[in-house]
């Protein structure tokens, strides 16, 4: 970074009027990270030759998938048209529903947001959901219409939507193309002019909100916080208000692109703090930091506790690796407090861990990171939601693992979690979507015309049905023009049964699912067919069966290999063949042996996927 900016960023006291704290929020893929890139470049934080796309998405998996998973903060020095120097604290947020909690946390440290809307897609479900979040926090909202460079951009239509669907003043919008760098200056000026500077009193007792924490293998936990009142400096003794534990501050600073040390963090500022906190688990996100010797009167409001909604067990492919997996999970958790897990064991798959995830994307990401960053060969059992059973003796049990399904004779009442799904789509898809929702046991629908040809549809649906292949089919029936968001609402009674899967006569508990009685048969058939596709042929016949309470309801057979041999094996063939075998052997190592059958990882997730992908 150039020296001028470094000096500015390091400056101890920046007048609060010269600070702006804001997040970029939007529906998934509307261009938040790309706009962040442009803002960073425009303010000269990074030389062009060091620049690459998605600068703030620093996990490999984020870049590969082109999505943001974790919010990321960065402080930008900016000399505005009024001639004054500002520090703009930008937070780029994820768009995917699974990570909504990241957005709410980010918003708690801001005074305003840039609400991005894709000029060709227009307002989508998460545009509205995220706008609501911003309004809950009383933030200034600047609507930014992005991707105006696209041939399919329709700015007028988006303006109507801003007015009619978001209830915002369409005259307040800015148009930009993050990709082509159009309108960036206007965005920066609007941030300075329209987002209020932070309020707060530097002379009051310290009160700072923890909104994130990250693990650094050299420094321990790096706490991300927003100071509301007071100031914090290295050497101060601080106290976490919820737990009362105290720590001595080692370092404070701002997020430049790397951490940038400062002498103090003062009221109104966003930055980090390192205080010898060993693990991320010792920090509660949403907690308030104050001074031990001069504590604040009240803690800040904090956040709602995030609860996992999807559960699945992780097993090592080979049971000797259980210890390694335990260590890997512990390390993984240092940087992703949203993953929860406990020990678990399966009859078919041995020792493992029962894990709770924020959604299926979160599950996939945990799986992929454990494999890539921690080199674990793992299997995940079929994902499940958490059910509630009232037993005849009056006790209530929560079951998120089909293996713990209560004895049916003891069940008085079975309940499953329900969500309210909000969907926005062009009117012509309405029929198809309603049909899909009904099939997914959706009830109590409401419909609302947002504007000509656009409808917002809500349904109350069992969460399990949404997990089971809803999203892909929704995308298909709306040809990609529909968007979807959901909130958990309550538990409702349902007629549930346990669907078991037997492979060559052996029950594989990790493939069991809790399903609704009405579609149990269909799900059993589906699972058998999917497994038939996923489990590779072996030299013997493999029988797959679906069973409910001992009664076989579906079956499929995988025919055995009869011939698998290379005709020629002389000089030149050998190396080629061995390489192929090595690859196959590696593939086989990534499969779990259940009895004599090798089951690949993909099989466990596939039973939840639809046929048409």
């Amino acid at each position: 970074m150039q020296n001028l900016f470094a000096a500015l960023l390091r400056q101890i006291i920046i007048a609060m009027e010269n600070i702006r704290n804001f997040s970029i929020i939007a529906h998934i893929d509307h261009g938040k990270s790309t706009l962040a890139d442009r803002l960073i470049q425009h303010t000269g934080m990074i030389e062009d030759r060091n620049f690459h796309d998605q600068l703030l998405d620093n996990m490999d998996i984020e870049r590969e998938r082109g999505i943001t998973i974790k919010s990321q903060a960065v402080a930008l020095p900016y000399r505005a048209k009024d001639g004054r120097d500002y520090i703009l604290n930008l937070i780029d947020t994820p768009g995917h529903v699974d990570f909504t909690y990241e957005v709410s946390r980010s918003l708690a440290s801001c005074e305003g947001v840039l609400l991005l809307i894709d000029a060709s897609q227009g307002v989508q479900a998460q545009t509205i959901a995220n706008l609501y979040l911003a309004m809950e926090h009383n933030l200034a909202v600047i609507p930014v219409i992005n991707k105006i460079d696209l041939l399919t951009a329709d700015v007028d239509r988006v303006l109507e939507q801003i007015d009619a669907e978001l209830g915002l003043d369409p005259f307040s919008h800015i148009r930009c193309s993050a990709k082509q760098g159009i309108g960036i200056e206007e965005v920066l000026e609007a941030i300075v002019e329209r987002i209020p500077p932070p309020k707060g009193d530097p002379s009051k007792p310290l009160s700072a909100l923890i909104f994130d924490a990250q693990y650094d293998s050299f420094r321990g936990t790096v706490i991300h916080c927003r100071v509301f009142d007071g100031a914090v400096r290295p050497g101060d003794v601080i106290r976490f208000m919820s737990s009362g534990t105290t720590y001595r501050v080692e370092e404070v600073g701002r997020f430049a692109l790397a951490r940038l040390k400062k002498d103090a963090l003062c009221a109104g500022e966003v930055g980090y703090l390192i205080a010898g906190v060993k693990t991320v688990a010792d920090v509660r996100i949403g907690d308030t930091i104050t001074h031990d010797d001069r504590p604040a009167g009240n803690a800040l409001p904090g956040f709602k506790e995030i609860k996992p909604v999807v559960f699945s067990s992780i097993y090592p492919i080979s049971s000797e690796d259980y210890g390694d997996l335990a260590t890997a999970l512990e390390k993984y958790k240092l940087n992703d407090a949203s993953l929860v897990y406990t020990k678990d064991s399966s009859v078919a798959l041995g020792l493992g861990f029962r894990c709770g995830f924020l959604g299926l994307l979160h599950l996939e990401i945990v799986q992929e990171r454990l494999e890539r960053e921690f080199d674990q060969a793992i299997i995940l059992s079929v994902p499940s939601v958490r059910y509630r059973f009232t037993l005849k003796d009056g006790s209530v049990v929560h079951v998120d693992n089909p293996a713990n399904y209560p004895d049916p004779a003891t069940i008085e009442k079975a309940e499953e979690p329900f969500i309210r799904a909000t969907m926005i789509m062009p009117e012509k898809y309405l029929g198809a979507v309603m049909k899909l929702c009904t099939e997914k046991r959706g009830v109590s629908s409401t419909m609302n015309y947002l504007g000509p040809g656009r409808v917002e549809l809500t349904y109350e649906m069992p969460l399990a049905e949404v997990l089971f292949d809803f999203y892909d089919r929704f995308k298909t029936v709306t040809q990609g023009y529909g968007s979807f968001d959901y909130d958990l609402i309550d538990y409702r009674e349902g007629r549930l049964v346990l669907l078991d899967i037997l492979v060559n006569g052996e029950k594989v508990d990790a493939l069991s699912q809790i399903v609704h009685r009405d579609n149990a048969r269909q799900r059993g058939v589906h699972a058998c067919e999917k497994l038939k596709d996923e489990i590779p042929r072996q030299q013997f016949k493999i029988a797959i069966q679906g069973a409910i309470g001992g009664e076989i309801i579906s079956r499929s057979t995988i025919s055995p290999f009869r011939k698998d041999v290379t005709a020629k094996c002389y000089g030149g063939d050998i190396t080629r063949k061995r390489k192929l075998l090595e690859k196959q052997k590696k593939g086989k190592k990534r499969m779990k042996m259940v009895g004599t059958v090798s089951i690949p990882q993909s099989a466990f997730l596939a039973v939840l996927q639809s046929d048409n992908d």
Binding site: Q539, A567, I574
Partner: protein, 379 residues
């Protein structure tokens, strides 16, 4: 090294990279430009010099290709003579030459026999003209018969015939007739290969385009087991996936070296060599092969150093492809792994399924096991 091998002496392979035309299924390295024969032979002599000290003794020589019979018999005789002066080829060695129907007559084969070749392998492939056309061979069934008869007349008492099955348009009956025709000369050895589709060949393209269909897995297994049953019924030993011999002494000693990690030296473009735990291979490019050797460089294109683990995998793979199988104690000696014990459960499974047999301390594939040999080594 274990020693349950047939022989520990090295093998010598010479790749003759010329064919009169390319067959529709073939991906061996060869060119049709016979104008390069002189350059090739000159380079081959230079290559021999580079490997003079390769092994203390050789007991097999195999001249393959390509089509060795593209070269006049005198020149092949000359190559063999030069090999013998460059390498210690022991008396009693198995010395094979591959010939194609249409290329050779009795006189030519007699000349080869005089020169010291004592085994001839005739690339008949089929006696059925229609099948030969599909394969894009230059010759018909009649030339095939003439070639094997000529080999007998020339006095070869170790005759091998190459045949291919699973050719589009081939019926099980047609295949049986081809085998019957081959047996008419009572050959000492037969190689019966299932047709393999190789990328980039005309046949591959025709199958991709849907103009031809290949046998499916069940049909392929039908051909495989019918071949095995038929030839075993006629007294042949099915000693390797695609190879049959009239007696144990008549198995291809040269080929067995590929399957038990005995050293072999391959000369000529695209030839592979192996010694110790290193394998290397020559360029598949005749002009480069020649220019490298003229410049005093080995024409090597690549090499690999095999780890113990890789050697072990290969040994399992080879073992399950051959009737000699895997000798438990020798395997343990070499790789420190007691197959009969450690992999017990997996092996027991294979035995229960009738894919392998345990004869004393030797694990051997059954006929059904041979048909699945590529999987068995993955245990």
């Amino acid at each position: 090294m274990d020693d349950n091998r047939i022989s520990t002496a090295a093998g010598l392979y010479i790749h003759v990279p010329f064919c009169r035309s390319k067959c529709a299924y073939c991906d061996f390295y060869s060119v049709t430009d016979v104008g390069r024969i002189d350059g090739y032979l000159e380079a081959l002599s230079l290559e021999m010099e580079l490997y003079r000290g390769f092994a203390p003794v050789f007991d097999t020589v195999y001249m393959g290709g390509g089509t060795p019979s593209c070269l006049p018999a005198d020149r092949l005789a000359d190559v063999l003579a030069r090999l013998r002066s460059a390498f210690p080829v022991s008396p009693g060695s198995e010395i094979t030459v591959e010939v194609n129907p249409g290329d050779v007559d009795t006189a030519c084969l007699e000349r080869l026999r005089e020169a010291g070749f004592n085994r001839v392998s005739v690339g008949v492939q089929s006696f059925d003209d229609a099948i030969l056309t599909t394969l894009g061979r230059r010759h018909g069934g009649r030339e095939g018969r003439e070639a094997v008869d000529a080999a007998r007349r020339a006095g070869f008492d170790n005759l091998s015939i190459d045949l291919i099955y699973g050719v589009p348009g081939q019926s099980p009956e047609g295949w049986r007739e081809t085998m019957e025709s081959a047996l008419a000369v009572n050959p000492e050895h037969l190689s019966c290969y299932e047709l393999t589709l190789e990328r980039g060949t005309p046949l591959h393209r025709r199958v991709e385009a849907g103009q031809l269909t290949l046998a499916d897995e069940d049909e392929a297994y039908g051909f495989f087991s019918a071949t095995s049953e038929f030839l075993e019924g006629r007294g042949y030993i099915h000693y390797e996936v695609s190879n049959f011999a009239r007696t144990g002494a008549l198995i291809s000693r040269h080929n067995h070296k590929y399957w038990d990690h005995t050293p072999y030296l391959g000369l000529g473009p695209s030839a592979h060599s192996f010694r110790g735990c290193r394998r290397w291979w020559n360029r598949r490019d005749l002009p480069r092969y020649i220019s490298d050797l003229r410049a005093g460089r080995a024409p090597v294109d690549g090499q690999e150093e095999l780890s113990q683990e890789q050697l072990r995998m290969e040994a399992l793979y080879f073992g399950f492809r051959t009737k000699r199988g895997i000798h438990g104690p020798a395997f343990r000696e070499r790789f420190g792994m007691d197959l009969l014990r450690e992999e017990g459960a997996a092996l027991r499974g294979l035995r229960d399924e009738g894919l392998i047999r345990l004869d004393g301390e030797v694990l051997t594939p059954t006929r059904r096991g041979l048909a699945l040999a590529d999987r068995l080594c993955l245990l």
